[in-house]
């Protein structure tokens, strides 16, 4: 039991705290229900899907997964996942490289126009992507890049996700100034100071950027919907789209099996890096 005695005299049970635990656990049960339902349904045989009040299937129907593995429109799930992986990995590389470079300039170097440019960078965090969407589409269309992965990856190498520049700036400001002063005295230029000192010390910020970029790119639907139209180029998210129009419940099993497959990398990432994720999120909103 969680009867805590810290500041309380005697052995009084802290009912308020127990109440909090009960409340939180109840809330968690409700919140995690959709996930449990998703997993359970992905194993349900077709005739049990409709009577959905019972969570657990009476027998495990693996055929949902064998159907899902075949993929959509003649493209196998492996191919779909491969496409998602290429795009997400490319986006991660692009964001980590370009955002840390820009962040170093803003956080550590002095140059004319730094104030106005920093303000501009912050303003672009709030810019809705739709305001630049159509001209970007026209440019990529003219470059013959529509229906390739380039429009989804290339912008990341140009630090267009200003949120991560901001996050990394906040982090780099926290690194003691004395370290790069010492490096300067030892004759290190800004490049060596960046690669030898600031970059290794910024690892938490870089990891946060990498994980968030991966998960957001993997989950992204809008840009993929616009830029990819050949089934061979589809990502797993885009393949799920083919189920959006289906209202027949017979497709439920395979649809949710594929949904589970699509969520798997995110869940694995979350379990592996949840400490970084939660702290990375927290540090973005609190004064650095």
């Amino acid at each position: 039991m969680v009867a805590v005695r810290e500041s309380l005299p005697g052995r009084r049970i802290d009912w308020a705290r127990i109440g909090l635990h009960v409340g939180c656990l109840a809330a968690l049960l409700v919140m995690l229900y959709p996930l449990a339902w998703l997993i359970a349904t992905s194993f349900k045989p077709a005739d049990e899907v409709i009577s959905s009040l019972r969570l657990l299937p009476s027998r495990l129907a693996m055929n949902n997964y064998t159907t899902a593995l075949e993929g959509v429109g003649g493209v196998s799930v492996l191919r779909l996942i491969g496409n998602s992986l290429i795009i997400s990995t490319g986006a991660v590389l692009g964001n980590v490289i370009s955002c840390s470079l820009a962040a170093y300039a803003f956080a550590r170097l002095r140059f004319t126009l730094r104030g106005p440019l920093f303000a501009l960078m912050l303003a672009t965090i709030m810019l809705p992507q739709h305001a630049v969407l159509i001209p970007q589409y026209i440019v990529f269309n003219q470059l013959g890049m529509v229906n390739t992965f380039w429009p989804l990856v290339l912008p990341k190498f140009l630090a267009t996700d200003a949120f991560f520049v901001f996050l990394t700036v906040q982090f780099m400001r926290g690194i003691p100034k004395e370290l790069d002063e010492a490096a300067t005295l030892d004759g290190c230029g800004p490049f060596r100071t960046f690669f030898r000192i600031i970059l290794p010390l910024s690892r938490p910020a870089l990891i946060t950027t990498a994980i968030f970029t991966f998960i957001w790119t993997w989950n992204d639907f809008f840009l993929q919907l616009i830029y990819l139209f050949e089934p061979e180029k589809f990502t797993i998210t885009l393949a799920l789209r083919s189920f959006v129009d289906t209202s027949s419940q017979s497709a439920y099993g395979p649809m949710f099996a594929m949904s589970v497959i699509a969520l798997l990398p995110i869940v694995l990432f979350f379990m592996a890096f949840q400490r970084f994720l939660v702290e990375g999120m927290a540090s973005s909103g609190v004064k650095g």
């Binding site: 959905s52 009040l53 550590r108 730094r114 920093f118 303000a119 709030m126 159509i134 005295l185 939660v278």
Partner: protein, 325 residues
């Protein structure tokens, strides 16, 4: 959120007693100003290129296109204010999508933040198990943006889905929430509220920064639980609340995936989940009215700009910055 230019913290502290290091500092500045300046532009070049080519120029082009009729294949044809006039005076679907989005922002954002704050307050005083709860409540924020969860949501609230069934046993026979024009929007809002974990984590981090002495002082002054919350917690948390409010509002205006999925890709039933971005996609990429879609995008940009500016303006009267007092 700290939105000032980083000068304050990066500039060498004035009047530092450590004269040796101050001298070294100014020596460095005297010896290598050019090299530093050049280096800064090298580090900045990817971002500069991106800002110029992928952000600022497209914004201007988008503004130009909003005064044209353009289908991507033939040259844009200048039509002046036609797109805007049509949008505001004779396109009921446009107004529908704008109203839907507005209602959604007004419902989902305050509720999501209220739940996030309530849970953060509970976790802040829960003691053992806090780390576990924090991660568990945060998980939906990462998963919820996916198509997979949007599909689950549609199934749960569909006719015969679990939520629908559950409510029928209590006598509310809805025949599926996603099929009812009055309720489908709420299903999308619920999905957003379900993802309260991200703002909650930020609230929690903010709560940890509230100095304990303030509570003790308040308690000495005889302040009760509610009084302490209103007079200590809320003011100290106001910068974080403001940050969450701005971020979530801007995001809510742009919601797309759940609306697309819950509505079967078309904004149904009866356009009740036709969100702004969904209609923008429909005009631009399904109907090939790129000029009209650009005009829609610019109105969205202006509206988000105005709302953000109003939030920042209102912040003067309710956001309390401890370090500037």
């Amino acid at each position: 959120m700290n939105v000032e230019a980083p000068d304050q913290q990066v500039s060498p502290p004035r009047g530092r007693p450590d004269s040796e290091s101050a001298a070294a500092d100014s020596a460095t500045r005297r010896n290598r100003p050019r090299r530093r300046e050049g280096a800064a532009w090298v580090f900045l070049s990817p971002w500069l290129l991106g800002a110029a080519v992928l952000t600022l120029t497209p914004m201007l082009v988008s503004l130009y296109l909003s005064f044209t009729q353009y289908d991507l294949f033939t040259a844009p044809e200048w039509v002046g204010l036609d797109n805007y006039v049509h949008m505001f005076t004779s396109d009921p679907r446009y107004w529908r999508s704008a109203m839907n989005t507005l209602i959604y922002v007004l419902v989902a954002v305050p509720l999501q933040l209220a739940v996030a704050l309530a849970v953060a307050l509970a976790l802040n005083s829960i003691g053992r198990g806090k780390g576990f709860y924090r991660s568990a409540f945060y998980a939906p924020s990462l998963l919820g943006a996916s198509m997979s969860i949007a599909l689950v949501w549609r199934a749960l609230f569909n006719d015969g889905g679990t939520v629908d069934d559950l409510l029928s046993t209590f006598g509310f026979d809805m025949g599926g929430w996603v099929n009812q024009p009055g309720w489908a929007l709420l299903v999308v809002a619920l999905l957003t509220i379900w993802q309260f974990g991200a703002p909650m984590v930020i609230f929690l981090a903010g709560l940890q920064q509230v100095p304990h002495e303030l509570y003790e002082a308040a308690e000495v002054d005889g302040a009760g639980r509610m009084r302490r919350f209103l007079s200590v917690t809320l003011p100290m948390l106001s910068p974080v609340l403001f940050f969450n409010l701005v971020l979530q509002t801007i995001q809510a205006f742009q919601v797309f995936t759940p609306a697309f999925t819950v509505s079967g890709g078309r904004g149904g039933p009866a356009d009740s989940t036709l969100f702004y971005t969904l209609y923008l996609y429909d005009r631009g990429f399904t109907a090939s009215h790129m000029g009209y879609a650009s005009a829609m995008a610019w109105v969205l940009l202006v509206v988000i700009g105005i709302v953000t500016a109003l939030l920042f303006r209102s912040a003067r009267s309710w956001v309390f910055y401890n370090d500037k007092g």
